[in-house]
Subunit: 478 residues, 2 copies
């Protein structure tokens, strides 16, 4: 039974052979997400939801320190709100799901994003400069009626996210904090999720519908595709004008405020799978793991003694929220596979011989390294090893990402890199015509333009050959 189960439960393709199939298998078999009977919708299972809770916990702490408060706005948005900001309406209308049975006459959309429903309230709440800055965030579900094929975590008709919506007196404040939230996203990705990101500005054609400009953190996945992992938009004054948000300044005059909005979604969990997962399944970075270790007692002789010791270790490692796998009817080997599949960062083995030697065995999920640790150093060693795993996952991912980005000088090199499943870093004139060309010819989009640009660019645009103005990343994208 053991062997059969293993084959049935394990991942049956290699990550570097069939990345797409590998991804779907890991997500489903590690019980991270499942398809729903409803087309295009996903079930976020407990193993992934606990990662989402870690993301919430991390981000809430950071944004509350800045002064952001969480709230909750309605799921339904009147059609007329959508039309108030024309660029916004154009960008989102094709993806909106509508409610059928409203007696009120006007159609109601299910929120694809909440700018319009929130700013309607803001226009009533904001009166004076004393009410600013106003910083509100909500954690909620979002519906976009996608017609493309469903990819769990990456493209589904419903997903979870947070959306922050702030209002400021001046453009300077708004610019400053728009960048600040982006940097929190960078920290979230790097510190908690061990995911390296490219931080930069979106091109004009890729910015948020209705924004002045959009900043983003982007990842490059092992298949060379780009993944937008978080965005922070300076919305300018467009929405404020459309929704009649005004404030009385200290000068006694009426002014139009500046706004931003910023969000990350459950898509981050998809990135986590793609970047850290391996042929045996999911790998959760320790800081994002609800259960940082699993204790597997090796029951081959004096089971009572081993179980007793395993329970002691379980209690001693309380702060790591370890799992004690004392299930009967499964071999240790089967359990090893099961927890490797699910991505628990550290395995702790305890057998009769370990007890004699007053030690336990640690096995790292990231590199399968095995080490014996003396009982007296247990807690510190576990902590130290978890830190090493976190660090190694980030470094490995950084190296991987760097290796997937090709610096190219012309369209030919660009084409070759894309064919080799790479993302591309290139000098660009900044003209959207060149973007259109690579989109049409190679199905490639611009990701973002690094915030720190060189001062006197002498290079030419990879596409049109005219004078380049920026460095920009391009890739096929999720």
């Amino acid at each position: 039974m053991n062997k059969d189960k293993k084959i049935e439960l394990g991942i049956t393709v290699k990550k570097d052979q069939d990345f797409s199939e590998w991804y779907t298998q890991v997500v489903q078999k590690a019980e991270l997400a499942d398809y729903s009977t409803v087309k295009g919708c996903m079930i976020i299972r407990a193993n992934a939801y606990s990662i989402w809770e870690k993301i919430q916990e991390y981000l809430n702490k950071k944004i509350k320190k800045i002064g952001v408060k969480n709230a909750y706005f309605p799921l339904f948005i009147p059609e007329s709100f959508f039309k108030k900001e024309s660029e916004h309406a154009k960008g989102f209308t094709p993806e909106v799901a509508w409610i059928a049975n409203t007696e009120e006459g006007e159609r109601l959309a299910i929120r694809p994003t909440s700018e319009t429903i929130m700013y309607d309230s803001y226009s009533r709440w904001i009166r004076s400069h004393r009410d600013l800055p106003l910083r509100i965030n909500q954690w909620c579900n979002i519906v976009r009626w996608e017609t493309k094929a469903t990819r769990l975590f990456l493209r589904t008709r419903e997903f979870l996210w947070q959306e922050g919506h702030c209002v400021y007196e001046t453009k300077e404040e708004c610019d400053k904090e728009t960048l600040e939230y982006l940097k929190e996203y960078k920290n979230l990705c790097e510190e908690l999720l061990a995911l390296p990101v490219l931080i930069g500005k979106k091109s004009e054609s890729e910015k948020f519908a209705g924004a002045l400009y959009t900043l983003s953190v982007e990842g490059v996945m092992p298949d060379g595709k780009g993944l937008q992992m978080g965005t922070s938009h300076n919305l300018g004054q467009g929405f404020a004008k459309a929704f009649g948000i005004r404030f009385l300044g200290e000068d006694g005059k009426e002014h139009i405020p500046w706004q931003n909005s910023w969000g990350v979604s459950t898509r981050l969990i998809g990135a986590l799978v793609m970047v850290h997962g391996d042929d045996k399944g999911m790998v959760i970075p320790p800081r994002a793991a609800e259960n940082k270790a699993v204790i597997v007692p090796i029951l081959t002789g004096d089971n009572e003694k081993v179980l007793k010791r395993a329970k002691e270790v379980f209690r001693e490692l309380g702060k790591f929220n370890a799992i004690l796998d004392d299930r009967e009817g499964y071999t240790p080997g089967w359990k090893f596979n099961d927890w490797e599949l699910k991505g628990i960062p550290l395995r702790i083995e305890i057998g009769p011989r370990d007890i004699e030697k007053k030690q336990i065995v640690l096995v790292r999920r990231d590199n399968y390294e095995k080490m014996s640790v003396k009982d007296k150093n247990l807690s510190e060693e576990v902590e130290r090893t978890l830190d090493l795993i976190q660090e190694n996952l980030f470094n490995r991912a950084k190296k991987l990402m760097d290796s997937k980005i090709a610096s190219v000088k012309n369209k030919n090199e660009f084409k070759k890199a894309i064919e080799n499943k790479m993302a591309v870093k290139a000098y660009w004139c900044g003209n959207s015509e060149c973007e259109k060309i690579v989109k049409n010819e190679f199905s490639v989009k611009s990701l973002n333009m690094p915030l720190d640009q060189p001062k006197n660019i002498k290079e030419n645009c990879f596409c049109c050959g005219k004078k380049a103005n920026v460095i920009c990343y391009f890739a096929k994208s999720y």
Copy 2:
């Protein structure tokens, strides 16, 4: 300006004169919730959402200890799922909102509760007794297309809740845990929210659509109306049969499992307002308060010195997450009113004379009691006072609830009690005919029947005069 502002912002009716108007004013003026442009929907503002976060934190800790894991299921439910359990379908169909633009043929409901969408997955996930018990909870938004008038937190078309859904091998386990979750709700209400509750079983006609039986915690509000504050349903095997959930038992045979579901919602915040609020506004019990104290520097002379000391106190009281109200342009009196309106449990005043005396002044929100506290005892005294406030709020609420419940012997007494805006405790035959009579004649429903019933009831039913079988609470209800 000060005086005008006070009139504009404060509550303009007394709680015991116009309870309904008082409630709406407190909810809106304390910035707990607001109406949305979308009929029947509410905005949960930051001051209330932070209470919801405290509820989440409290309950997550308790249910995770039992073994419950959080997950997230789709918002959309295919119409055919609804029809699978006939009682359930009958109960919920009238309130369902539907999606207009699905190309898939079948109509999609927006979840009014998630039994059906979750159990469809359970039928695929559960194979063996080893998969049981399965305990999953989700925090999500819920839509019920109410046609009655909207009451913020109490009756809205969308609200937030948690719904736990567990599966067990035996009825005994299911009974036991159905009660256990109810007791967690009682603890949540009493310990965190300082709200006393009646814990009991719903009558046959008031139980959940599709359940074997429903347990509930109910509150009696200051206007004598009952408020259902949490329910835990033993669903029996009905849903398992309808959705084909089966498991292979240790005996090698196929069995049908037992299920329960249980939930509390943002309605709890409505109870909090009604029970603890007073003529000056909201009163948040300390344990449910994000900010447990507010520091108001009394700026009348040596402002620099006072502000310096206020900042020191602010830092010293870090663990209470105090607010330092150093806003300019507002008098201390205006600030006192503002924070009383918002319900911050404790006010800390610091003036020049307090600094001289090496003291600060504490003012309790629950009873306006004012006391001087020596600087050296600051943190302990704040902690002690917050505990006293929490305790006093519960005791006061308990006394109030008890005073709002009349023990009645017959229909005449029943009628009088209801006319006097009381809830009723009565011996009842248990027959739904008598329930119908009081519903028709007095618009009164049964709340619940206490779990500990006397053994040999000799009394007669308050309504039909036949032999009584149970003690039951009745009231008009929200």
